[in-house]
Protein backbone atom coordinates (compact mmCIF):
# COMPACT_ATOMS: atom_id res chain seq x y z
CA UNK A 1 0.00 0.00 0.00
CA UNK A 2 1.16 3.52 -0.80
CA UNK A 3 -0.79 6.77 -0.45
CA UNK A 4 0.26 10.34 -1.10
CA UNK A 5 -1.81 13.45 -0.41
CA UNK A 6 -0.80 16.57 -2.34
CA UNK A 7 2.59 15.06 -3.08
CA UNK A 8 3.28 14.07 0.57
CA UNK A 9 3.70 10.39 1.40
CA UNK A 10 1.01 9.61 4.00
CA UNK A 11 1.21 5.81 3.88
CA UNK A 12 2.41 5.56 7.46
CA UNK A 13 -0.37 7.48 9.19
CA UNK A 14 -3.38 7.53 6.84
CA UNK A 15 -2.51 4.15 5.35
CA UNK A 16 -2.70 2.49 8.74
CA UNK A 17 -6.01 4.18 9.51
CA UNK A 18 -7.47 3.00 6.21
CA UNK A 19 -6.25 -0.53 6.81
CA UNK A 20 -7.95 -0.62 10.22
CA UNK A 21 -11.16 0.85 8.83
CA UNK A 22 -11.24 -1.63 5.94
CA UNK A 23 -10.67 -4.55 8.33
CA UNK A 24 -13.60 -3.36 10.46
CA UNK A 25 -15.78 -3.08 7.35
CA UNK A 26 -14.85 -6.57 6.22
CA UNK A 27 -15.98 -7.94 9.60
CA UNK A 28 -19.15 -5.83 9.74
CA UNK A 29 -22.74 -7.10 9.81
CA UNK A 30 -23.87 -9.22 6.87
CA UNK A 31 -26.06 -6.59 5.19
CA UNK A 32 -23.29 -4.00 5.33
CA UNK A 33 -20.41 -5.84 3.76
CA UNK A 34 -19.70 -7.01 0.25
CA UNK A 35 -20.44 -10.64 -0.53
CA UNK A 36 -19.07 -11.14 -4.05
CA UNK A 37 -20.09 -14.18 -6.08
CA UNK A 38 -17.68 -17.13 -6.42
CA UNK A 39 -15.03 -16.27 -9.07
CA UNK A 40 -16.23 -18.90 -11.57
CA UNK A 41 -19.70 -17.33 -11.84
CA UNK A 42 -18.77 -13.70 -11.11
CA UNK A 43 -19.13 -11.14 -13.91
CA UNK A 44 -15.36 -10.66 -13.59
CA UNK A 45 -14.91 -14.14 -15.09
CA UNK A 46 -15.57 -12.39 -18.43
CA UNK A 47 -12.23 -10.60 -18.05
CA UNK A 48 -10.44 -13.94 -18.26
CA UNK A 49 -11.47 -14.52 -21.90
CA UNK A 50 -8.60 -14.32 -24.35
CA UNK A 51 -10.70 -13.94 -27.50
CA UNK A 52 -14.09 -12.63 -28.59
CA UNK A 53 -15.34 -16.21 -29.04
CA UNK A 54 -14.26 -17.23 -25.55
CA UNK A 55 -15.96 -14.13 -24.15
CA UNK A 56 -19.24 -15.08 -25.85
CA UNK A 57 -19.06 -18.62 -24.46
CA UNK A 58 -18.48 -17.22 -20.96
CA UNK A 59 -21.23 -14.64 -21.31
CA UNK A 60 -23.87 -17.19 -22.27
CA UNK A 61 -22.78 -19.43 -19.39
CA UNK A 62 -22.99 -16.52 -16.92
CA UNK A 63 -26.38 -15.32 -18.17
CA UNK A 64 -27.84 -18.71 -17.18
CA UNK A 65 -26.99 -17.87 -13.54
CA UNK A 66 -28.69 -14.51 -13.79
CA UNK A 67 -31.94 -15.08 -15.65
CA UNK A 68 -34.11 -14.94 -12.53
CA UNK A 69 -35.27 -11.77 -10.78
CA UNK A 70 -33.94 -11.75 -7.24
CA UNK A 71 -36.91 -11.44 -4.89
CA UNK A 72 -34.97 -11.61 -1.62
CA UNK A 73 -35.35 -8.82 0.90
CA UNK A 74 -32.84 -5.98 0.66
CA UNK A 75 -31.39 -3.42 2.99
CA UNK A 76 -33.45 -0.21 3.10
CA UNK A 77 -31.10 2.75 3.73
CA UNK A 78 -32.00 4.72 6.85
CA UNK A 79 -31.36 8.39 7.50
CA UNK A 80 -30.50 9.38 11.09
CA UNK A 81 -33.14 10.69 13.51
CA UNK A 82 -36.79 9.97 14.23
CA UNK A 83 -37.92 11.02 10.74
CA UNK A 84 -35.43 8.58 9.25
CA UNK A 85 -36.76 5.78 11.46
CA UNK A 86 -40.40 6.48 10.56
CA UNK A 87 -39.69 6.64 6.82
CA UNK A 88 -37.68 3.43 6.93
CA UNK A 89 -40.44 1.62 8.88
CA UNK A 90 -43.00 2.87 6.34
CA UNK A 91 -40.89 1.57 3.45
CA UNK A 92 -40.50 -1.81 5.19
CA UNK A 93 -44.26 -2.00 5.71
CA UNK A 94 -44.99 -1.13 2.08
CA UNK A 95 -42.47 -3.73 0.91
CA UNK A 96 -44.20 -6.43 3.02
CA UNK A 97 -47.63 -5.30 1.84
CA UNK A 98 -46.70 -5.47 -1.84
CA UNK A 99 -44.50 -8.55 -1.57
CA UNK A 100 -47.09 -10.99 -2.91
CA UNK A 101 -47.90 -8.85 -5.96
CA UNK A 102 -44.21 -8.24 -6.57
CA UNK A 103 -43.47 -11.96 -6.48
CA UNK A 104 -46.24 -12.65 -9.00
CA UNK A 105 -44.74 -10.12 -11.42
CA UNK A 106 -41.24 -11.51 -10.83
CA UNK A 107 -42.56 -15.02 -11.57
CA UNK A 108 -43.91 -13.87 -14.94
CA UNK A 109 -40.70 -12.01 -15.75
CA UNK A 110 -38.62 -15.06 -14.83
CA UNK A 111 -40.60 -17.21 -17.27
CA UNK A 112 -39.69 -14.85 -20.09
CA UNK A 113 -36.05 -14.59 -18.96
CA UNK A 114 -35.49 -18.35 -18.80
CA UNK A 115 -37.07 -18.88 -22.20
CA UNK A 116 -34.90 -16.17 -23.73
CA UNK A 117 -31.79 -17.63 -22.12
CA UNK A 118 -32.64 -21.09 -23.41
CA UNK A 119 -33.23 -19.73 -26.92
CA UNK A 120 -29.85 -17.99 -26.76
CA UNK A 121 -28.11 -21.17 -25.64
CA UNK A 122 -29.80 -23.30 -28.34
CA UNK A 123 -28.90 -20.78 -31.04
CA UNK A 124 -25.29 -20.59 -29.84
CA UNK A 125 -24.98 -24.39 -29.70
CA UNK A 126 -26.47 -24.75 -33.20
CA UNK A 127 -24.07 -22.18 -34.67
CA UNK A 128 -21.15 -23.82 -32.89
CA UNK A 129 -22.11 -27.21 -34.34
CA UNK A 130 -22.39 -25.69 -37.85
CA UNK A 131 -19.01 -23.99 -37.51
CA UNK A 132 -17.37 -27.19 -36.25
CA UNK A 133 -18.88 -29.13 -39.15
CA UNK A 134 -17.69 -26.56 -41.71
CA UNK A 135 -14.19 -26.57 -40.21
CA UNK A 136 -14.08 -30.38 -40.35
CA UNK A 137 -15.25 -30.42 -43.98
CA UNK A 138 -12.77 -27.69 -44.93
CA UNK A 139 -9.94 -29.64 -43.33
CA UNK A 140 -10.99 -32.75 -45.30
CA UNK A 141 -11.10 -30.78 -48.57
CA UNK A 142 -7.67 -29.28 -47.88
CA UNK A 143 -6.34 -32.74 -47.17
CA UNK A 144 -7.76 -34.06 -50.46
CA UNK A 145 -6.54 -31.01 -52.39
CA UNK A 146 -3.04 -31.29 -50.99
CA UNK A 147 -2.98 -28.29 -48.68
CA UNK A 148 -4.35 -24.86 -47.97
CA UNK A 149 -5.90 -23.33 -51.16
CA UNK A 150 -4.56 -19.92 -50.12
Amino acid sequence: MKISFSGQDRTRDLGQALRRRAAAMEHGPAGRRLAPLPPEISALALALAQSDAEYLDNLIRLIRYRDGVNTLDFEIPRKPGLAGLIITRLKEFLWKLLRYQHDRIAFRQNLINTQLTSALEFEHARRQAETDDLKRRLAELEKQGGGNPR
Partner: protein, 353 residues
Protein backbone atom coordinates in the same frame (compact mmCIF):
# COMPACT_ATOMS: atom_id res chain seq x y z
CA UNK B 1 4.37 27.22 -45.19
CA UNK B 2 1.57 24.99 -43.95
CA UNK B 3 1.58 23.18 -40.64
CA UNK B 4 -1.13 20.54 -40.82
CA UNK B 5 -2.12 17.86 -38.34
CA UNK B 6 -3.24 14.32 -39.06
CA UNK B 7 -5.45 12.58 -36.52
CA UNK B 8 -6.86 9.07 -36.32
CA UNK B 9 -10.21 10.47 -35.15
CA UNK B 10 -11.66 13.85 -34.29
CA UNK B 11 -14.25 14.02 -31.54
CA UNK B 12 -15.90 16.39 -29.06
CA UNK B 13 -14.34 16.24 -25.61
CA UNK B 14 -11.47 14.05 -26.81
CA UNK B 15 -8.13 15.09 -25.29
CA UNK B 16 -6.13 14.60 -28.49
CA UNK B 17 -8.68 16.49 -30.59
CA UNK B 18 -8.67 19.37 -28.09
CA UNK B 19 -4.89 19.57 -28.23
CA UNK B 20 -4.99 19.59 -32.03
CA UNK B 21 -7.46 22.50 -31.96
CA UNK B 22 -5.20 24.50 -29.62
CA UNK B 23 -2.15 23.82 -31.77
CA UNK B 24 -4.05 24.84 -34.92
CA UNK B 25 -4.92 28.16 -33.26
CA UNK B 26 -1.23 28.75 -32.51
CA UNK B 27 -0.07 27.87 -36.04
CA UNK B 28 -2.72 30.10 -37.60
CA UNK B 29 -1.75 32.97 -35.28
CA UNK B 30 1.78 32.61 -36.64
CA UNK B 31 0.36 33.11 -40.13
CA UNK B 32 0.67 29.53 -41.38
CA UNK B 33 -2.01 27.57 -43.14
CA UNK B 34 -3.15 24.95 -40.65
CA UNK B 35 -5.82 22.29 -40.98
CA UNK B 36 -6.78 19.14 -39.13
CA UNK B 37 -7.16 16.01 -41.28
CA UNK B 38 -9.00 12.91 -40.09
CA UNK B 39 -10.77 9.86 -41.46
CA UNK B 40 -14.40 11.06 -41.95
CA UNK B 41 -15.82 7.87 -40.44
CA UNK B 42 -14.06 8.73 -37.18
CA UNK B 43 -15.19 12.34 -36.92
CA UNK B 44 -18.00 13.48 -34.58
CA UNK B 45 -21.00 14.82 -36.53
CA UNK B 46 -20.65 18.16 -34.73
CA UNK B 47 -17.06 18.55 -35.98
CA UNK B 48 -17.53 17.48 -39.60
CA UNK B 49 -17.12 21.02 -40.87
CA UNK B 50 -14.17 21.78 -38.60
CA UNK B 51 -11.73 19.35 -40.22
CA UNK B 52 -10.78 18.04 -43.65
CA UNK B 53 -11.04 14.47 -44.98
CA UNK B 54 -7.84 12.48 -44.67
CA UNK B 55 -7.94 11.72 -48.41
CA UNK B 56 -7.61 15.46 -49.19
CA UNK B 57 -4.27 15.80 -47.39
CA UNK B 58 -1.47 17.14 -49.60
CA UNK B 59 1.86 18.69 -48.67
CA UNK B 60 5.09 20.16 -50.00
CA UNK B 61 8.66 19.73 -48.79
CA UNK B 62 8.60 23.02 -46.92
CA UNK B 63 5.46 22.13 -44.98
CA UNK B 64 5.34 20.52 -41.55
CA UNK B 65 3.03 17.67 -40.68
CA UNK B 66 2.15 16.58 -37.15
CA UNK B 67 0.64 13.17 -36.49
CA UNK B 68 -0.97 12.36 -33.15
CA UNK B 69 -0.10 8.68 -32.76
CA UNK B 70 -1.80 6.16 -30.48
CA UNK B 71 -3.30 3.36 -32.59
CA UNK B 72 -2.74 1.82 -36.03
CA UNK B 73 -4.88 3.58 -38.62
CA UNK B 74 -4.83 4.88 -42.20
CA UNK B 75 -3.78 8.24 -40.72
CA UNK B 76 -0.31 6.86 -39.90
CA UNK B 77 0.12 5.71 -43.51
CA UNK B 78 -0.83 9.15 -44.85
CA UNK B 79 1.62 10.71 -42.39
CA UNK B 80 4.49 8.46 -43.46
CA UNK B 81 3.76 9.10 -47.14
CA UNK B 82 3.78 12.87 -46.63
CA UNK B 83 6.52 14.91 -48.34
CA UNK B 84 6.47 17.40 -45.45
CA UNK B 85 8.84 17.42 -42.49
CA UNK B 86 7.28 15.16 -39.92
CA UNK B 87 6.60 15.43 -36.21
CA UNK B 88 5.17 12.43 -34.40
CA UNK B 89 3.22 13.37 -31.25
CA UNK B 90 3.08 10.22 -29.17
CA UNK B 91 -0.01 9.90 -26.98
CA UNK B 92 0.72 6.39 -25.75
CA UNK B 93 -0.46 3.01 -26.97
CA UNK B 94 -2.67 1.08 -24.56
CA UNK B 95 -1.18 -2.41 -24.06
CA UNK B 96 -3.16 -4.78 -26.30
CA UNK B 97 -3.63 -7.37 -23.57
CA UNK B 98 -6.21 -5.14 -21.88
CA UNK B 99 -8.49 -5.61 -24.89
CA UNK B 100 -7.94 -9.36 -25.42
CA UNK B 101 -11.34 -11.00 -25.13
CA UNK B 102 -13.14 -7.65 -25.03
CA UNK B 103 -12.34 -6.57 -28.57
CA UNK B 104 -9.97 -8.64 -30.70
CA UNK B 105 -9.99 -6.06 -33.53
CA UNK B 106 -8.88 -3.21 -31.26
CA UNK B 107 -6.27 -5.48 -29.63
CA UNK B 108 -4.88 -6.20 -33.13
CA UNK B 109 -4.79 -2.46 -33.97
CA UNK B 110 -2.92 -1.72 -30.73
CA UNK B 111 -0.43 -4.51 -31.42
CA UNK B 112 0.09 -3.19 -34.95
CA UNK B 113 0.62 0.33 -33.57
CA UNK B 114 3.16 -0.97 -31.07
CA UNK B 115 5.11 -2.90 -33.71
CA UNK B 116 5.11 0.11 -36.10
CA UNK B 117 6.09 2.58 -33.37
CA UNK B 118 9.84 2.45 -33.94
CA UNK B 119 9.43 2.76 -37.71
CA UNK B 120 7.07 5.76 -37.45
CA UNK B 121 9.47 7.43 -35.01
CA UNK B 122 12.50 6.67 -37.19
CA UNK B 123 10.87 8.25 -40.24
CA UNK B 124 9.84 11.36 -38.29
CA UNK B 125 12.05 14.45 -38.10
CA UNK B 126 11.02 15.03 -34.49
CA UNK B 127 9.17 13.10 -31.80
CA UNK B 128 7.13 14.82 -29.12
CA UNK B 129 5.22 13.19 -26.36
CA UNK B 130 2.76 14.37 -23.73
CA UNK B 131 4.41 13.01 -20.58
CA UNK B 132 7.72 11.83 -19.12
CA UNK B 133 6.03 8.44 -18.70
CA UNK B 134 5.53 8.22 -22.46
CA UNK B 135 9.07 9.49 -23.09
CA UNK B 136 10.46 6.70 -20.91
CA UNK B 137 8.39 4.17 -22.86
CA UNK B 138 9.82 5.48 -26.15
CA UNK B 139 13.35 5.41 -24.75
CA UNK B 140 12.84 1.77 -23.77
CA UNK B 141 11.94 1.16 -27.44
CA UNK B 142 15.30 2.64 -28.44
CA UNK B 143 13.85 5.97 -29.63
CA UNK B 144 16.07 8.89 -28.59
CA UNK B 145 15.75 12.66 -28.77
CA UNK B 146 12.14 12.67 -27.58
CA UNK B 147 10.82 16.05 -26.44
CA UNK B 148 8.16 16.26 -23.75
CA UNK B 149 5.25 18.61 -24.40
CA UNK B 150 2.67 18.06 -21.62
CA UNK B 151 -0.87 17.72 -22.92
CA UNK B 152 -2.45 21.13 -23.42
CA UNK B 153 -5.38 21.94 -21.19
CA UNK B 154 -7.89 24.67 -21.82
CA UNK B 155 -10.41 25.68 -19.19
CA UNK B 156 -14.08 25.53 -20.13
CA UNK B 157 -15.18 28.36 -22.41
CA UNK B 158 -16.55 31.28 -20.33
CA UNK B 159 -19.89 31.17 -22.16
CA UNK B 160 -20.35 27.44 -21.49
CA UNK B 161 -23.11 26.88 -18.92
CA UNK B 162 -23.56 23.57 -17.10
CA UNK B 163 -26.62 21.72 -18.33
CA UNK B 164 -29.45 22.53 -15.84
CA UNK B 165 -31.27 19.21 -16.38
CA UNK B 166 -28.19 17.25 -15.35
CA UNK B 167 -27.66 19.51 -12.34
CA UNK B 168 -31.29 18.95 -11.26
CA UNK B 169 -31.02 15.22 -11.75
CA UNK B 170 -27.90 14.75 -9.64
CA UNK B 171 -27.92 17.61 -7.14
CA UNK B 172 -29.31 16.67 -3.75
CA UNK B 173 -28.41 14.83 -0.61
CA UNK B 174 -26.50 11.91 -2.16
CA UNK B 175 -22.70 12.08 -2.30
CA UNK B 176 -21.68 11.98 -5.96
CA UNK B 177 -18.51 10.11 -6.86
CA UNK B 178 -17.55 10.79 -10.46
CA UNK B 179 -15.51 9.12 -13.16
CA UNK B 180 -15.12 10.68 -16.61
CA UNK B 181 -13.35 8.85 -19.43
CA UNK B 182 -13.76 6.14 -22.02
CA UNK B 183 -15.28 2.92 -20.73
CA UNK B 184 -12.31 0.77 -21.67
CA UNK B 185 -10.60 -2.18 -19.94
CA UNK B 186 -7.40 -0.28 -19.06
CA UNK B 187 -9.51 2.10 -16.93
CA UNK B 188 -10.14 -0.75 -14.45
CA UNK B 189 -13.67 0.44 -13.74
CA UNK B 190 -14.38 -2.88 -12.05
CA UNK B 191 -11.97 -1.84 -9.28
CA UNK B 192 -13.75 1.48 -8.93
CA UNK B 193 -17.17 -0.21 -8.78
CA UNK B 194 -15.96 -2.70 -6.13
CA UNK B 195 -14.54 0.13 -4.02
CA UNK B 196 -17.76 2.10 -4.40
CA UNK B 197 -19.73 -1.01 -3.39
CA UNK B 198 -17.79 -1.13 -0.11
CA UNK B 199 -18.27 2.58 0.49
CA UNK B 200 -21.98 2.44 -0.33
CA UNK B 201 -22.71 -0.70 1.69
CA UNK B 202 -20.53 -0.22 4.74
CA UNK B 203 -20.19 3.56 5.07
CA UNK B 204 -22.71 5.70 3.25
CA UNK B 205 -25.73 4.28 1.46
CA UNK B 206 -26.72 7.83 0.46
CA UNK B 207 -24.14 7.94 -2.31
CA UNK B 208 -23.90 7.23 -6.02
CA UNK B 209 -21.20 6.52 -8.56
CA UNK B 210 -21.57 8.40 -11.85
CA UNK B 211 -19.63 7.02 -14.80
CA UNK B 212 -19.49 9.39 -17.76
CA UNK B 213 -18.00 7.95 -20.94
CA UNK B 214 -18.82 6.24 -24.18
CA UNK B 215 -20.33 2.77 -23.84
CA UNK B 216 -19.25 1.93 -27.37
CA UNK B 217 -15.46 2.09 -26.88
CA UNK B 218 -15.47 -1.52 -25.66
CA UNK B 219 -19.06 -2.79 -25.65
CA UNK B 220 -18.17 -6.20 -24.20
CA UNK B 221 -16.32 -4.59 -21.32
CA UNK B 222 -19.33 -2.36 -20.67
CA UNK B 223 -21.54 -5.48 -20.62
CA UNK B 224 -19.26 -6.99 -17.97
CA UNK B 225 -19.50 -3.85 -15.84
CA UNK B 226 -23.30 -3.83 -16.04
CA UNK B 227 -23.35 -7.46 -14.99
CA UNK B 228 -21.00 -6.70 -12.10
CA UNK B 229 -23.26 -3.89 -10.92
CA UNK B 230 -26.17 -6.35 -11.00
CA UNK B 231 -24.18 -8.96 -9.07
CA UNK B 232 -23.42 -6.39 -6.39
CA UNK B 233 -27.05 -5.19 -6.39
CA UNK B 234 -25.95 -1.58 -6.86
CA UNK B 235 -28.66 0.56 -8.46
CA UNK B 236 -26.69 3.62 -7.38
CA UNK B 237 -24.15 3.20 -10.18
CA UNK B 238 -25.19 5.43 -13.09
CA UNK B 239 -23.72 4.91 -16.56
CA UNK B 240 -24.17 8.21 -18.36
CA UNK B 241 -22.57 7.49 -21.76
CA UNK B 242 -20.68 10.10 -23.81
CA UNK B 243 -22.00 13.62 -23.17
CA UNK B 244 -21.61 17.05 -24.82
CA UNK B 245 -19.49 19.75 -23.08
CA UNK B 246 -22.38 21.43 -21.18
CA UNK B 247 -23.42 18.15 -19.58
CA UNK B 248 -19.81 17.20 -18.89
CA UNK B 249 -19.38 20.47 -17.02
CA UNK B 250 -22.58 19.79 -15.07
CA UNK B 251 -21.24 16.44 -13.83
CA UNK B 252 -18.14 18.15 -12.47
CA UNK B 253 -20.34 20.75 -10.77
CA UNK B 254 -22.39 18.13 -8.88
CA UNK B 255 -19.41 15.88 -8.07
CA UNK B 256 -18.15 15.59 -4.49
CA UNK B 257 -15.19 13.47 -5.51
CA UNK B 258 -13.47 12.39 -8.73
CA UNK B 259 -11.89 8.92 -8.73
CA UNK B 260 -10.04 6.93 -11.33
CA UNK B 261 -8.63 3.44 -10.84
CA UNK B 262 -7.14 3.41 -14.33
CA UNK B 263 -4.05 1.23 -14.65
CA UNK B 264 -2.70 2.75 -17.85
CA UNK B 265 -2.87 6.38 -18.98
CA UNK B 266 -0.56 8.48 -21.11
CA UNK B 267 -1.60 11.58 -19.16
CA UNK B 268 -5.36 11.69 -18.21
CA UNK B 269 -6.93 15.05 -18.95
CA UNK B 270 -10.11 14.49 -16.85
CA UNK B 271 -7.91 14.84 -13.75
CA UNK B 272 -7.18 18.40 -14.84
CA UNK B 273 -10.84 19.07 -15.60
CA UNK B 274 -11.87 17.83 -12.16
CA UNK B 275 -9.24 19.98 -10.43
CA UNK B 276 -10.24 22.97 -12.55
CA UNK B 277 -13.80 22.55 -11.24
CA UNK B 278 -12.71 22.31 -7.61
CA UNK B 279 -13.39 18.59 -7.23
CA UNK B 280 -10.96 16.58 -5.05
CA UNK B 281 -9.21 13.89 -7.06
CA UNK B 282 -8.16 10.34 -6.19
CA UNK B 283 -6.12 8.45 -8.81
CA UNK B 284 -4.09 5.29 -8.99
CA UNK B 285 -0.38 6.14 -9.24
CA UNK B 286 -0.08 4.69 -12.73
CA UNK B 287 1.17 5.85 -16.13
CA UNK B 288 1.27 9.60 -16.68
CA UNK B 289 -1.26 10.41 -13.92
CA UNK B 290 1.28 11.45 -11.27
CA UNK B 291 2.61 13.98 -13.80
CA UNK B 292 -0.86 15.29 -14.57
CA UNK B 293 -1.51 15.79 -10.85
CA UNK B 294 1.97 17.26 -10.36
CA UNK B 295 1.97 17.27 -6.55
CA UNK B 296 -1.79 17.63 -6.12
CA UNK B 297 -4.65 15.21 -5.42
CA UNK B 298 -4.47 11.78 -3.82
CA UNK B 299 -2.39 9.05 -5.42
CA UNK B 300 -2.65 5.44 -4.31
CA UNK B 301 -1.05 2.10 -5.04
CA UNK B 302 -2.06 -1.41 -3.99
CA UNK B 303 -5.25 -0.67 -2.07
CA UNK B 304 -7.91 -3.33 -1.62
CA UNK B 305 -11.43 -2.31 -2.71
CA UNK B 306 -12.43 -1.90 0.96
CA UNK B 307 -9.40 0.31 1.65
CA UNK B 308 -10.17 2.43 -1.40
CA UNK B 309 -13.79 2.74 -0.21
CA UNK B 310 -12.50 3.89 3.18
CA UNK B 311 -10.28 6.42 1.39
CA UNK B 312 -13.35 7.87 -0.39
CA UNK B 313 -14.91 8.46 3.03
CA UNK B 314 -11.77 10.07 4.40
CA UNK B 315 -11.60 12.59 1.56
CA UNK B 316 -15.34 13.26 1.68
CA UNK B 317 -15.64 13.78 5.42
CA UNK B 318 -12.30 15.07 6.74
CA UNK B 319 -12.79 18.82 6.24
CA UNK B 320 -9.18 19.80 7.01
CA UNK B 321 -7.77 17.21 4.65
CA UNK B 322 -10.22 18.20 1.93
CA UNK B 323 -9.27 21.86 2.26
CA UNK B 324 -5.57 21.01 2.05
CA UNK B 325 -6.23 18.91 -1.06
CA UNK B 326 -8.26 21.61 -2.79
CA UNK B 327 -5.62 24.24 -2.05
CA UNK B 328 -2.89 22.07 -3.60
CA UNK B 329 -5.13 21.40 -6.60
CA UNK B 330 -5.75 25.13 -7.09
CA UNK B 331 -1.99 25.72 -7.05
CA UNK B 332 -1.58 22.96 -9.64
CA UNK B 333 -4.19 24.55 -11.90
CA UNK B 334 -2.57 27.95 -11.48
CA UNK B 335 0.69 26.45 -12.78
CA UNK B 336 -1.23 24.93 -15.73
CA UNK B 337 -2.83 28.29 -16.53
CA UNK B 338 0.55 30.04 -16.39
CA UNK B 339 1.96 27.83 -19.13
CA UNK B 340 2.81 29.60 -22.35
CA UNK B 341 2.03 26.98 -24.99
CA UNK B 342 2.97 29.27 -27.84
CA UNK B 343 6.50 29.75 -26.50
CA UNK B 344 6.79 26.04 -25.71
CA UNK B 345 5.76 25.06 -29.24
CA UNK B 346 8.12 27.63 -30.75
CA UNK B 347 11.00 26.23 -28.71
CA UNK B 348 10.10 22.66 -29.70
CA UNK B 349 10.00 23.63 -33.37
CA UNK B 350 13.23 25.67 -33.30
CA UNK B 351 15.13 24.95 -36.50
CA UNK B 352 12.03 23.82 -38.36
CA UNK B 353 10.20 27.12 -38.74
Amino acid sequence: MNIHQILTGYADGDAISNEAILLREIFRRWGHGSEIYADPVRVSPSLKTDCRPLADYASGKDDICLHHYGIASPAAEVFLASAARKIMVYHNITPAEYFAGFDDAVAAQLLAARSALREVARRSDAVWTVSEFNAAELKAEGIDGVKVFPLLFSTAKPDLRPDPLTINKFAGPLKNILFVGRIAPNKRLEDLIMAFAWYHLAINSFSRLIIVGSKHSAARYYTMLRMLVGDLDLPHVCFEDFVPPARRLAYYRVADLYVTASAHEGYCLPLMEAMDNGVPVIARAAGGMPEALDGAGVLYEDLTPAELGALFDRVLTDAALRKELLTAQQRRMQRARERNPEAEVRALMAGML
